[in-house]
């Protein structure tokens, strides 16, 4: 089972006396996993550890049963890394950059040619691949970096801030590509500050701050685990004030706020199970016609706020 997973076992990394990450234990199955945390939280260190670019001070890392120290060629054949840095060898076209990257991966010239074509098509770079990278827009640079990371058909794709600097169109195209790769069974590990998009694309989130792992798992599961923060639910109904007064009468309901359009109410509850039982009762009584019920803080942004806080320190 461990051969299709990325495993971190009690991994710590110190840069001299400075903590990179501390005692991280993670199991990442295939799919899209997003690393979320404030600047300097250790996200890039975690990615560098996974890609073998830095060695852990202690602990073990296994990427689909492979380790860079044991068989670097096989390890890097299975891994694609798109860094957040804008480096390209000077004077190259996008096409040459891809071709050279594949030659560095050890592909034959014929395979490199074929895979370059495929990657360019996949990121929809088109004719721009024949132009010098120095003349590319930021979005095109992101695309060619992404093409470089996926061109050699890795099984694990590590993407450091891949959506930064992209316009909405390019961002949507990139997200569609990530989703497609994730569906095909690829490991995608993405770091991102754009929490709305984390919600859209992630199968799992890993929250990290100050080098410590705060939470990991499916966003909804993580939210449910945060029991000390009452959950907010939006209920769309015809008599929000009446519903609010009924719900507010019980102890576990700690806040009620009518929606700005007057056609719903935000309720905050400390006991979700009891809350839904009571809501069912009210609906059965027929006093309030309930149209929709949806968690209002069951997303990456809320989890980030609850677990890490706006100042970046874990609460």
């Amino acid at each position: 089972m461990s051969d299709d997973r990325i495993l971190f076992e009690n991994v710590s990394k110190f840069y001299g006396e400075v903590l990179g990450v501390n005692k991280i234990s993670l199991t990442i199955p295939p799919g899209i996993t997003t690393l979320v945390g404030p600047n300097g939280s250790g996200k890039t260190t975690l990615m560098n550890l996974m890609t073998g670019l830095v060695q852990p001070s202690s602990g073990q890392i296994s990427v689909m049963g492979l380790s860079p120290s044991e068989d670097a060629t096989e390890f890097f054949r299975n891994l694609g890394y798109c860094t957040q840095f804008d480096f390209f060898p000077r004077g190259l076209t996008g096409w040459q950059f891809l071709l050279d990257s594949l030659l560095l991966h050890g592909m034959s010239r014929n395979d490199a040619f074929r895979l370059s074509m495929e990657a360019i098509e996949r990121v929809q770079l088109g004719d721009a691949a024949g132009r010098k990278i120095a003349g590319y827009s930021k979005g095109m640079r992101q695309k060619i970096r992404l093409a470089q990371a996926i061109a050699h058909h890795p099984r694990v794709l590590v993407l450091d801030e891949p959506l930064n600097g992209l316009d909405p169109m390019a961002r949507a195209e990139s997200i569609a590509l990530f989703e497609e790769l994730g569906r095909q069974g690829l490991h995608l590990l993405i770091s991102s500050h754009i929490l709305d998009e984390v919600d859209r694309i992630s199968d799992r989130v890993v929250l990290i701050t100050g080098g410590y792992l705060i939470a990991q798992g499916n966003i909804h599961q993580v939210r449910q685990e945060v029991r000390d923060k009452p959950m907010q639910v939006l209920i769309r109904c015809d008599h929000p004030e009446l519903l609010a007064s009924r719900m507010f009468a019980v102890n576990h309901c700690v806040e009620a706020r009518v929606h700005s359009d007057g056609k719903g109410v935000f309720l905050r509850t400390g006991d979700v199970d009891q809350f839904y039982t009571m809501l069912n009762g009210i609906a059965a009584e027929g006093l309030v016609k309930i149209e929709a019920v949806a968690p209002a803080d069951d997303d990456a942004n809320a989890i980030y706020q609850y677990l890490i806080g706006s100042d970046g320190s874990a609460s």
């Binding site: 260190t45 890609t51 830095v54 890394y81 480096f87 030659l103 034959s108 058909h153 069974g185």
Partner: protein
Amino acid sequence: MSIYKQNYRAYTGKVTPIWTRVLVLARYGYAEAWSSKITVGIFVFSLLPCILSLFGIYLANNPLARALIGGQGPRGLAIDARFFLNILQIQSWLALVLASWIAPRLITYDLADNAMPILLSHPISRFGYVLGKFIALFTALSLVTWIPTLLLFFYEGYASPQPWASVNLSIAGGLLAGSLIWIAFLSILGLALSSWVKWRIVATGIIFGAVFVPAGVGGIVSAVLRTKWGFLLNIPFMMSTLWERLLGVPGLVHPNRDLPTVAIAAMLLLACIICLAMLNARIRAREVVRG
């Protein structure tokens, strides 16, 4: 529940040997080095002494030309070990100029652009990266040292009416060994110093400084302590001594300055080890230091 087609296939083809991957980096380095017009200018200037020497060899072996320049005979333009020693020394110091210009272009750009994470996330080790850059620099320096000097040697062998080349084969060996030692040392020194300096022009100055400043310190040490061992810090002196011995030219140095060849070799080796340690410390994928 969605049903997904797990149709993604990892690449399973053959991979090329590691040395072919190193050559990609060497090609990058070579292209970077020669993309500068100043590099081309220094290279052309570095070939001028060889062209003059070629002309000299022609004159020395042409009876008509010898007669025209006053019949000084072979002694006026003796093509011997000292002649080639002079060429080797000139070319070697021009190689220093070329190395100090090229070496920073090979490494400082990569470090400044954060290239390491991308390059080293390929199956290329840090050693492979440095080797690729070393090959690029070494090849460039070869173009102004052992290649032209050996071509001059072979031209003299061709132009000389006597069987000159076979008799003086040790000169060719000396030219080759002397050049290779010097450009290998220069390449390692240039790369190591460039890896520690962010600004390319400063790195160029520091490479010059690393060759000549210790020479001054060594001179002071020798004068104050009345010892010859201070000259082990004097790279120009050590190399001149080594070249003289490799080409079999009698030394003109004072007996008190006569350094053993083993000591010179050990000193150069020590300098290379220090340079490799510097490269090892600096050429890394990334060192993130959080405040």
